[in-house]
């Protein structure tokens, strides 16, 4: 394996817009909101940015094709800008572009920005859209909850859980995230819920109920990255560095080969192990102190805890119910409220996750600040359980 990028790149600044039903804001305005916070945090001028990576998931309801919308919105100085799209993992993909550019030495300072405007569709839930000419001809017309509900049935069948126990654990995931989100002024949903509400909510796609689903929001988040040396020379202290950045993409094995039983995310297992190797982490359960994972649905978070080796395989239900991933648990998960409370503006979510870990490591997380956080893991997932893209990034104090 290559030596990796551990500690070769640090975060100079980050920004995140308020997430929510931003009826009044265009995608450009959301980008500027995140960027202004970010560039002030970085204490640089816009003209110091060498290159940018722009993440946007859905062309039709967002900014359209190409990287130009970012360059125009931020009045970037004719620098190279690349548009990236990798389904719901798009945000981390933008970050990966910027980080690799700096790690390679091609750029001193690079920008990653993600934005999505989901609330212009005229209806609730993620937009209905094409999956490509051929897939559209035979794929079921599945919604995102419909895709991930199957993870629940596959997981339950594999580990022989009863429906009620699994549903209670799924409810706990959401109750915990809502409790965290209630302390976050940037979250879309800032209200606590009860387990009864979650369990009894109407089904969206059995066994996924309303409160098992993340919100649907508008939002933008961004990061400016550079080398540790340059960050220091700019007077930056308490540097947060990138320890690992890995991506695994399904090759059709899960969807068409019998080796996958539908009970887990193969890409998450592969990408996280690569990330642990890159970061030099041998005992994730002990070394990772906080996680922001892709909780598009409560079941996804539960299964992800196992796939990240933070819970024992098949024991996720028990570990969730024991509170291991609550704010005061062993490894707090979604301390900012997660996708559950932020919603999931596709291009922005991956960067929003990193933003929270960045704030926590800087001691700037306000009412939800964890004591002594060390390594934060971000898990950003695109696609469906049977065909997907998984990004894992790990950030921590620069040594």
């Amino acid at each position: 394996m290559a030596s990796g990028i551990k500690d070769k790149v640090v975060i100079l600044g980050m920004g995140c817009s308020k997430f929510g039903e931003r009826w009044e804001s265009s995608p450009s305005e959301l980008m500027v909101e995140a960027f202004e916070e970010c560039i002030q945090d970085a204490c640089i001028e816009r003209n110091q940015i060498d290159a940018a990576w722009f993440g946007a998931g859905i062309d039709a309801f967002n900014v359209g094709a190409s990287a130009m919308p970012l360059a125009i919105a931020l009045r970037l100085n004719y620098i190279p800008v690349t548009k990236v799209e990798n389904m719901c993992a798009t945000g981390t993909e933008a970050f990966r572009g910027a980080v690799y550019a700096v790690a390679s030495g091609a750029c001193d300072i690079a920008l990653a920005l993600g934005v999505e405007k989901l609330k212009d569709t005229g209806y609730g839930g993620l937009p209905q859209r094409s999956r490509g000419l051929e897939n559209d001809m035979y794929w079921p017309n599945l919604s995102a909850p419909g895709a991930f509900a199957q993870l629940a049935t596959g997981y339950r069948a594999k580990h022989n859980h009863n429906k009620e126990d699994l549903k209670r654990a799924m409810a706990h995931v959401s109750v915990k995230s809502h409790a965290n989100g209630a302390k976050n002024p940037k979250a879309h949903l800032q209200r606590e819920i009860t387990s009864e509400q979650a369990v009894n909510a109407p089904y969206i796609a059995e066994p996924i109920g309303l409160y098992d689903c993340c919100g649907v929001s508008d939002g933008s988040a961004c990061a400016i990255v550079t080398t540790p040396e340059l960050a220091k020379s700019l007077g930056k202290e308490n540097l947060v560095s990138v320890k690992a950045l890995q991506l695994a993409v399904s090759n059709g094995t899960e969807s068409s080969h019998e080796s996958w039983d539908g009970s887990y995310l193969k890409t998450t297992r592969i990408a996280s192990q690569r990330a642990y190797d890159e970061a030099g982490i041998r005992k994730p359960k002990e070394e990772i102190t906080m996680t922001e994972v892709h909780d598009c649905f409560s079941i996804t978070e539960l299964v992800t805890m196992e796939d990240l080796q933070l819970a024992e395989e098949g024991k996720g239900v028990r570990e969730v119910l024991d509170g291991n991933f609550d704010a005061d648990g062993k490894t707090p998960c979604q301390i900012d409220g997660g996708l559950k409370c932020f919603g999931h503006p596709i291009g922005a979510s991956g960067l929003r996750m990193i933003y929270e870990n960045y704030l926590q490591l800087n001691g700037r997380a306000g009412a939800r600040q964890l004591s002594d956080p060390k390594l934060g893991l971000n898990h950003n997932l695109g696609g469906f359980p049977h065909q997907n893209i998984c990004s894992i990034s790990i950030v921590g104090p620069y040594n």
Partner: protein, 479 residues
């Protein structure tokens, strides 16, 4: 001469109680109450003339070992496509050879009997498949809605294993306009029932039958089964009486259980008779419309050994009660339903892309790797087995006749579906291969991981803007 070697039917599982039709409409026409007995077969939203034809033909072919089909006739007055050979779609769904002679025959209630006559007189050497299928449309609250039903029937015609041979044929072509459906209308327009009986059935059929009997050199008393497809309840009796055929010979039109299936009705009823008939029995099959076809069959000794894989009795018993009249109206586009914004997404079919994937989409063909033996669907250039990944190594492998098991599933209430929730999930096939696919006709609470499924050719999407419809295979939970 070629004869009937096998037969089968397909009757949609959903049965609409006629009481619900009457309850919804008798405020306008109180006469409907007198017809509100029993139920009728109705297509699910994803069934049409083509899908029912595939089912009936599949059932028919399953009852005989490897027939070598050289021609396929599809008879109907409700073809989904007016210019795209519907029988060719059926043939490809059945994975028949592309060298078959395929033909659509329509425009009359005797489309199926005329096809049959044509096949019998064609002198063809190979096996032929005659399928008739009808997805009937009628105006809401009409008598027709009460009397008609959707169904399909198929006959395998062959020189081998003949269970019924043709004795004589007679045809009359008379432009008697009892009803019609013009180019510009969606529905039939008909004339008074009594006039049709007296001036139509009673003047045409006895004439043809008299000639037929003479030609066959038998007496009318020898006719054991008298099939006169009609939505007029008493007319077959009146016609039989006028000819001198015993009332016991009259084959019931199944108005109270299935409904009269238009051009498919003669074949459905013939199948019903062939299932119970003994050897050496005469069957008189009639088709009425712009004249009539009269075909006299005599069963052979072979009939004793033959059992259809889906006979009428079994098909009628395989039912699910539907009491929601609004759902029926919606499925048949008889009301303009608000389908929500998710239903508005454009559904254009890119015909060149469709054509590239036709083996998968219509034939449900995947691949079997010659190198490692892995069965897979869809078939891509490289084998899916991570230990193999061989290039261009797969032979055709047909999934349409395979059974499978539900590995994952859900009932999706967010996505658009004509009959929500949308059920879909991963199906693991016996003998290998798996794919995420739609489930259709799922009854709530009757699906779970481990449920057994069979697969069926169904409509996947309607493109109402361009008048196209896509088909694909869906899984149905086996009882």
């Amino acid at each position: 001469m070629i004869g009937i070697s096998a037969h089968s039917v397909y009757i949609p599982r959903a049965r609409l109680s006629k009481k619900t039709i009457a309850e919804a409409n008798s405020w306008f026409d109180a006469n409907l109450n007198s017809l509100a007995k029993g139920e009728r077969a109705i297509c699910n939203w994803d069934e049409d003339t083509i899908t029912m034809a595939v089912e009936a033909a599949k059932n028919c072919l399953a009852s005989r070992n490897a027939p070598s089909i050289k021609s396929l006739y599809l008879a109907s007055t409700t073809f989904p496509f007016t210019d795209r050979q519907n029988s060719v779609v059926v043939g490809e769904a059945l994975n028949l050879e592309s060298s078959i002679r395929a033909m659509d025959i329509g425009a009359s209630q005797r489309a199926a009997t005329s096809s049959l006559v044509s096949l019998l007189e064609s002198g063809t050497k190979g096996d032929a498949l005659l399928v008739s299928s009808e997805h009937r449309r009628s105006k809401a609250g009409s008598r027709s809605e009460m009397l008609w039903g959707d169904a399909s029937g198929a006959l395998l015609m062959s020189h081998r294993n003949v269970i019924a041979e043709c004795v004589a044929i007679e045809t009359l072509s008379v432009d008697f306009v009892d009803h019609y459906r013009g180019e510009e209308s969606d529905f039939d327009y008909d004339w008074e029932e009594r006039w049709i009986r007296d001036e139509g059935y009673l003047k045409t059929i006895p004439l043809a039958v008299e000639k037929l009997i003479k030609r066959a050199n038998i007496s009318v008393e020898q006719i054991k089964h008298f099939i006169l497809p009609s939505d007029q309840i008493r007319t077959p009796g009146a016609v039989a009486k006028s000819i001198g055929i015993a009332q016991e010979a009259i084959v019931d039109n199944q108005i109270a259980s299935v409904g009269v299936a238009g051009a498919a009705q003669p074949i459905v009823l013939l199948s019903k008779v062939l299932e119970v008939a003994g050897p050496g029995e005469y069957i008189l099959l009639l088709g009425f419309g712009q004249g009539c076809d009269a075909v006299l069959f005599k069963t052979t000794k072979e009939i004793v050994q033959y059992k259809p894989s889906m006979g009428v009795e079994k098909a009628i018993a395989n039912r699910r009660e539907e009491t929601n009249y609004n759902k029926f109206l919606s499925f048949n586009s008889l009301i303009e339903k608000d389908i929500g914004k998710r239903g508005e997404v454009d559904k254009q079919t890119y015909l060149s892309g469709y054509n590239r994937r036709k083996d998968l989409l219509t034939g449900f063909i995947g691949g079997k790797c010659r190198v490692c033996g892995t069965v897979q669907i869809p078939r891509e250039k490289y084998c899916v087995n991570p230990e193999c990944n061989a290039l261009d190594s797969q032979d055709d492998y047909c999934f349409s006749d395979k059974l499978g098991t539900v590995a994952t599933w859900t009932a999706d209430r967010l996505t658009f579906d004509w009959n929500p929730p949308a059920y879909f999930g991963m199906v693991q096939f016996d003998g290998g291969g798996k794919i995420m696919m739609d489930f259709t006709e799922v009854e709530e609470g009757k699906i779970d991981t481990g449920s057994r499924v069979s697969v069926h050719f169904r409509v996947r999407q309607f493109d109402s803007v361009r008048g196209f419809r896509k088909y694909f295979w869906k899984a149905i939970i086996k009882d």
